[in-house]
């Protein structure tokens, strides 16, 4: 698949045919950094695809997300890009009985609060949700209650859930494994600038992203090129003005 198929054809055909040709297609595949496969097999396409009107983009974190989002994507009349994380394929999560139902769906464009909290909001998607949850656990030891939001969908982006959370916590950091420039976190920051929710912020928003380099091959460098729990925890403490 290339930009011609996904962007120039799938995303635009419904519009350019004035509704004559709809494209109910799902593009699914591994996305983000894998392990030990270096620069050309380790990158996040969430921001790339989410840039394009006509596409919907989802990025599941756990089992419930993976099943529910994929089923919703298949049932959706528009082209949907499902960005799965290769490293999560083998990770098992406990699920509710309802998740196994044939009609279990996770709505597109709706984020999920993974852990409620009142002090700071941490927004993440895909594998970075794991990092955010680890950080929230660490922060809890310091008496800080972080609210962790799993975006699930990158486009449409559920800003309402984030705004509502920030009205409560007044602090925000974003975590993603993609690069910083024009990334998912950058978009969230921009949306705050355009919304009255901006005035709810007590401190600037902080983005935790992948380092702005192609993925190194060396294992230790690779590990440190993506946000880790201590990075997110340090960012949270900084935003909260704590040592």
């Amino acid at each position: 698949m290339n930009d011609r198929s996904v962007i120039n054809s799938a995303a635009k055909t419904f519009y350019m045919s004035a509704g004559a040709v709809n494209v109910p297609i799902v593009f699914r595949g591994p996305n983000g950094a894998s392990a030990g496969v270096a620069a050309q097999h380790s990158q996040c396409f969430a921001a790339w695809y989410a840039h394009c009107p006509g596409l919907k983009v989802v990025s599941p974190y756990d089992t419930e997300d993976a099943r529910g989002l994929l089923k919703s994507a298949i049932r959706d009349p528009d082209p949907v890009v499902v960005l799965e994380n290769e490293l999560m394929y083998g990770v098992a999560f406990p699920v509710d009985e309802k998740v196994t139902d044939v009609d279990f769906l996770v709505p597109l464009g709706k984020a999920k609060i993974m852990r409620p909290g009142k002090d700071i909001t941490i927004v993440a998607h895909s594998k970075a949700v794991e990092t955010a949850l680890l950080s929230a656990a660490e922060l809890a030891k310091k008496g800080i209650e972080a609210e962790v939001i799993n975006l699930r969908s990158i486009r449409p982006l559920d800003m309402q859930t984030i705004f509502t959370s920030v009205r409560k916590t007044h602090h925000l950091i974003t975590v993603e494994n993609g690069w910083p420039q024009h990334g998912v976190g950058a978009e969230i920051c921009a949306r705050f600038m355009e919304d009255p929710a901006f005035f709810e912020l007590d401190a600037p928003v902080w983005r935790c992203c992948g380092v702005d380099v192609p993925m190194p091959y060396a294992k230790t460098l690779e590990l440190n090129a993506l946000p880790r729990e201590p990075d997110v925890t340090a960012a949270a403490l900084k935003v909260l003005g704590k040592k």
């Binding site: 054809s9 045919s17 004035a18 004559a20």
Partner: protein, 416 residues
């Protein structure tokens, strides 16, 4: 070890001489002297034709024996296309529309191929296949309304001129980035094949320049390996904008890639001979539906037109060359000669027909350019099946803005 091999390759173990065959080339023989296989070792695929330049059938058995009525429709559709092209081209030159592409010199490829198909066959065009639409019944008003992007344009003014599409005529809306249509056509053919009792195929038109795109190669290979009922109709008109075909490829055209390159049945025809195109297309259609396999059909012609209104081809080819293809080797004059020999040609009727089409197109332009443009609110529609909230909000914002400042906008030219 051996049993493992047998499990892996469904065709089983094959022996060539005293050796087991390599899975990658099971039918190849062994030789004991080293030799490079050269392009010259293969004779070019021959060009099938029915008529000579003067419209005489060369081998009576190959005359498709079409009725006078059908041949007259072919001739008139070719004339209509050519006449309409001249006027719409001029209308771009006059600044009335932004862009146009003519089909001069390729009329026989369009009409001959379209005539051999059934309406249920799905067409994926490149952008220079207006004749296929003419044959299928797309009307002059529909062509002109599309080029003028007005409220009666089936495409709702969302595309450049000549990017036609018609669900009713099974003609998929044109996508101008080159060769995006080729893998899509293969996918559509694969879907048709999976339908019980399928009796429709897909025809994908493209130029010899588009065949250099990576998508074309991927599409050929998918069609061959997935065995899809698709006809790859290459309009080899000698030019990819300004790149002549001798700079476009080094092999035997596009046909040369079919049999050896991709294992696809192939035929090469004289694209200025409407009966050659018709016969080849008929045979190709029978084959793809009977075998559920693709066909490469290369129709050789000459692009008498400039590439588009954004091109002046006299910068890269001689006027004499164009003139030769526009007279001696022109598809319309060949069919006309055939009709003369048959006693089916009437000079007066032809002149009347052409002048009738001229009048109709000119009148239609006058009507189409006065028609209202589609409602400007439609700009936000068709991005998704359901309009997202942020677009709804922007649409409402625009409505309020336009309402407040309506004296500054040409609202009268838009449908309300």
């Amino acid at each position: 070890m051996l049993s493992g091999v047998q499990r892996s390759y469904s065709a089983g173990v094959k022996r060539v001489d005293d050796r087991y065959a390599f899975p990658g080339a099971r039918d190849a023989s062994f030789v004991n002297s080293l030799k490079l296989t050269m392009p010259e070792d293969y004779a070019p695929i021959p060009i099938y034709r029915v008529m000579d330049r003067d419209g005489y059938v060369l081998n009576e058995q190959e005359d498709p024996q079409l009725s006078q009525e059908v041949v007259e429709k072919m001739f008139r559709d070719m004339l209509l296309l050519s006449t309409m092209d001249k006027i719409l081209y001029e209308s771009q030159r006059q600044g009335r529309i932004s862009f146009y592409m003519t089909n001069f010199g390729e009329e026989a490829s369009h009409i001959g191929s379209a005539a051999a198909l059934e309406m249920r066959d799905v067409i994926y065009g490149q952008y220079r296949e207006a004749g296929v639409l003419v044959w299928r019944g797309f009307r002059i008003d529909q062509f002109v309304d599309q080029c003028y992007g007005n409220d009666d344009d089936l495409g709702r003014g969302k595309q450049m001129p000549v990017h036609y599409g018609s669900k009713e005529l099974n003609f998929v809306t044109i996508s101008s980035p080159l060769s995006t249509q080729i893998p899509q056509a293969v996918g559509a053919a694969y879907a048709l094949k999976r339908k019980p009792n399928n009796d429709a195929c897909v025809v994908c038109y493209f130029g010899e320049g588009a065949a250099s795109e990576g998508d074309a190669h991927a599409a050929f290979n998918f069609a061959a390996t997935l065995e899809c009922p698709v006809i790859f109709f290459c309009r080899n008109n000698g030019f990819a904008i300004s790149t002549p075909s001798n700079e476009q490829y080094r092999g035997d055209g596009i046909a040369g890639r079919g049999p050896m390159g991709y294992g696809i049945a192939t035929v090469r025809v004289d694209g200025t001979d409407v009966f050659a195109v018709y016969n080849a297309m008929k045979r190709a259609r029978e084959y793809v539906l009977r075998e559920n396999k693709p066909v490469v059909l290369e129709a050789l012609a000459y692009r008498v037109s400039h590439h588009s209104t954004s091109d002046d081809s006299t910068a890269y080819r001689s006027a004499e060359e164009i003139e030769m293809w526009n007279t001696l080797e022109h598809p319309i004059s060949k069919l006309k000669s055939y009709m003369v020999h048959k006693g089916w040609f009437n000079e007066k009727e032809e002149t009347e027909f052409v002048s009738g089409v001229r009048k109709q197109v000119l009148k239609q332009i006058a009507i189409s350019e006065k028609k209202l443009k589609p409602n400007w609110r439609e700009m936000f529609e068709g991005v998704y099946a359901d309009m997202p909230k942020h677009l709804l909000e922007q649409q409402r914002e625009l409505e309020q803005h336009v309402e407040a400042h309506k004296q500054h906008y040409p609202l009268k030219s838009f449908k309300q």
